[in-house]
């Protein structure tokens, strides 16, 4: 019987082609705009490392006086789960996790000793040797540096395949020298493609947006970066949060970066740890609390520093880079949802008109023995067919919407903002479902039509 209703629906749609087009357009615009926003939100909610993110945690330590009002910018850094460099290194140095790595992004000009090859401004990651194992970074050549290189503050780097191709086309660069600033670094490894999204290793979104979609171009030991006074990317804007009189007293002429890296009030270092299982989190929280107690004792402060240990997903929900976009898109989602409701209300009104035009046929069917449920089913099948057509048109609207979104969203999101078969089916299914819902009342009305007219006026 459903097949019969389907045939009737198609015939009916072809008979009223303009009314059909109007309803389909209303549904397509509503569902297309909603699916566009949903897709971007979905991309933002993505898990950068779904296969092991449940084992990855971001510890944080807030040593600031809780009684003092938070400067807004500072709160942003706290939300990003950032620690001061000394705290991050000290907690990492406890080696209480399976793997641990402190990190911050660095931007440096890289060159080689060949005037023909142009220097490149590289987006680098200053981190620890465990980073590569913890985040499953693939290597096409060489290997990560060793922990002893971290300890020795060795001038070693790992570079990306694309950077290797720029400086050393056709040559294995392992063992060769790369200049960063005024320092020479030995290349120990070349990574394959590694570009997780969202880019959790760049919590403040300070890395060059054009480059982040291909992942960091260079990695160096974090202590080497500090020792060579490579400023974290975005350092200038961060330092500007603090008035000069807030800075700790250091001897005249001390480089600002030296003060910065030695002072617990400055938060710009990220720490990630890998635990053997999620159940180990409680134990690691005790480690953090123990460190906080030591900190309190050591620094003589009256308050206990606040600690937290967020899972990858918790961290993503709070990280400023994704959280602000989520807030904006959350609002956009409500607007899109409201727009969808308006479109569906229009579609429902048009379906009311459509079924009213069919009332003659439906009344004849009732007279010939169709129960109300059969009439309603026939109308709902027609609504479903309209919904599927609206969904197909909605896919086109979604594609257009995503193209527009790709022009406006941060570039690191572009890779995630795309249409796949899942989205195509989801769009069509959503359109069919909501149109079915919107068609319920018109179909119910159609099934309750009085039949007296069918006999004419006697």
């Amino acid at each position: 019987m459903i097949a019969y209703y389907f045939q009737l629906a198609v015939a009916h749609l072809r008979r009223n082609i303009w009314l059909t087009a109007l309803i389909v357009a209303a549904i397509a615009v509503g569902i297309g705009s909603s699916m566009t926003v949903f897709t971007v939100l979905y991309a933002l909610a993505g898990d950068p490392m779904p296969w092991k993110s449940s084992h990855l945690f971001a510890p944080s330590l807030d040593t600031n006086d809780p009684r003092q009002p938070r400067e807004k910018g500072l709160q942003t850094y706290l939300n990003a789960g950032l620690l001061s460099y000394p705290d991050a290194m000290a907690i990492s140095g406890l080696h209480q996790a399976l793997h641990q790595a402190a990190m911050f992004p660095v931007t440096q000009v890289a060159r080689i000793d060949d005037p023909v090859v142009l220097p490149v401004n590289v987006e680098a990651q200053a981190t620890e040797a465990d980073f590569f194992t913890m985040f499953d970074v693939p290597f096409v050549s060489g290997a990560p540096w060793a922990q002893k290189d971290d300890d020795a503050r060795a001038n070693v780097v790992v570079i990306s395949e694309s950077l290797a191709a720029h400086f050393f086309p056709g040559i294995n660069p392992v063992g060769r020298t790369l200049q960063l600033g005024i320092h020479d670094f030995r290349i120990v490894g070349v990574t394959g493609r590694w570009a997780p999204f969202p880019a959790f290793y760049d919590p403040l979104g300070v890395t060059n947006a054009a480059k982040i979609k291909s992942g960091p171009e260079l990695f160096m030991p974090i202590e080497t970066a500090v020792d060579r006074e490579f400023a974290p990317t975005g350092f200038t804007s961060y330092a500007a949060l603090f008035a000069a009189d807030q800075l700790p007293k250091w001897p005249q002429g001390t480089p600002i970066l030296k003060i910065y890296f030695a002072t617990p009030m400055f938060l710009q270092t990220q720490l990630w740890v890998e635990l053997r299982s999620a159940a180990d989190a409680a134990g690691y929280r005790r480690v953090l609390e123990g460190y906080a107690a030591q900190f309190q004792q050591r620094s003589g402060i009256t308050w206990m520093p606040a600690t937290s240990l967020r899972s990858m997903r918790e961290w993503l929900s709070l990280a400023p880079q994704t959280a602000s976009m989520r807030r904006e898109l959350g609002l956009a989602a409500w607007v899109a949802f409201g727009f969808l409701l308006v479109c569906l209300a229009n579609a429902a009104a048009l379906m009311l008109a459509r079924f009213a035009r069919s009332s003659n046929d439906l009344a004849i069917r009732r007279a010939l023995g169709a129960p109300r449920s059969a009439v309603m089913t026939q109308c709902l099948v027609e609504a479903g067919v309209i919904g599927i057509l609206g969904g197909v048109a909605g896919v086109a609207v979604t594609l257009l919407g995503l193209q527009l979104e790709r022009l406006s969203v941060p570039r690191e999101m572009i890779r995630a903002v795309h249409m796949d078969w899942q989205l195509v089916f989801a769009t069509i299914a959503a359109a069919a479902f909501v149109t079915f819902g919107a068609g319920l009342y018109p179909a119910w009305r159609a099934s309750r039509q009085r039949n007296v007219w069918a006999f004419g006026s006697l």
């Binding site: 069917r365 007279a367 023995g369 109300r372 069918a454 006999f455 006697l458």
Partner: protein, 240 residues
């Protein structure tokens, strides 16, 4: 076949209460051909909609082919209507999107019936009304008389026990009207029970019995009861 006893049908709005059927009683015997006549607003439409199970009545008793109608839900009423009642409308009421064959097949679609059985019944019904050659035509491609024949074929396809005809010749010219009424008479001779609503006294005169309605009630009818219509002059309607 059909018994209504002290039946009331009241339409209510916020301000008006209309008694469309008022203490209405009628009995139609199997194989009977009854004409229902009366002025406009006398309740003939209401009688047909209630008797055809398209509307519920307010009070009274209604038994159709031995079934107490009051107790039935919509699905049961629809099934009873589908299996036991056929309709022939003044305006034919064919669905313009469907072919002649599909229109005739319509009541059979709401039964659990195989496609083969449906096709056979459609073929038989069209043969009875002389339209075997037109199953793939659309209603708009037929004359008014042919459309009414299709409507009769549709009513017959379900093998109903009771046929309601509402001004079946009202939209037809004299010749076509004659052919349609002769077809109804043939069906009656074949054993069908027919209740026909009409304004036309000549048409009513061709029924076995005439029931006259005024203000929702049956009133005495001046015309003497005809005992039989078999063998009547088929050209009478045409002469009129």
């Amino acid at each position: 076949m059909l018994t209504m006893n002290r039946l009331f049908k009241v339409y209510r709005t916020e301000t008006i209460e209309t008694h469309a059927l008022r203490d209405f009683s009628i009995e139609v015997q199997p194989r009977e051909f009854v004409a229902v006549t009366g002025p406009s607003g006398s309740g003939k439409t209401t009688f047909l909609t209630v008797a055809g199970l398209l509307e519920e009545y307010t009070s009274g008793e209604f038994v159709l082919d031995g079934v107490q109608v009051r107790t039935l839900n919509d699905r049961q009423r629809s099934q009873l209507r589908n299996e036991k009642i056929g309709f022939v409308f003044q305006a034919f009421n064919l669905i313009p999107d469907l072919t002649v064959g599909a229109n005739v097949e319509l009541p059979l679609r709401y039964r659990s019936m195989s496609r083969v059985e449906r096709r056979k019944r459609v073929g038989d019904a069209l043969a009875r009304v002389g339209l075997s050659a037109r199953p793939n035509h659309f209603p708009s491609e037929l004359s008014g008389g042919q459309q009414q024949r299709v409507a009769i074929a549709r009513a017959l396809a379900g093998s109903p026990r009771l046929l309601f005809a509402d001004e079946p010749t009202g939209n037809l010219d004299t010749q076509m009207a004659l052919s349609v009424i002769e077809l109804l008479e043939d069906l009656h001779r074949g054993g069908a029970t027919i209740v026909m609503v009409t304004h036309d006294p000549d048409l009513a005169a061709r029924a076995q019995r005439e029931v006259r309605m005024v203000e929702g009630q049956i009133v005495p009818c001046a015309r003497p009861k005809r005992m039989a219509i078999h063998g009547t002059n088929a050209s009478r309607r045409g002469a009129a």
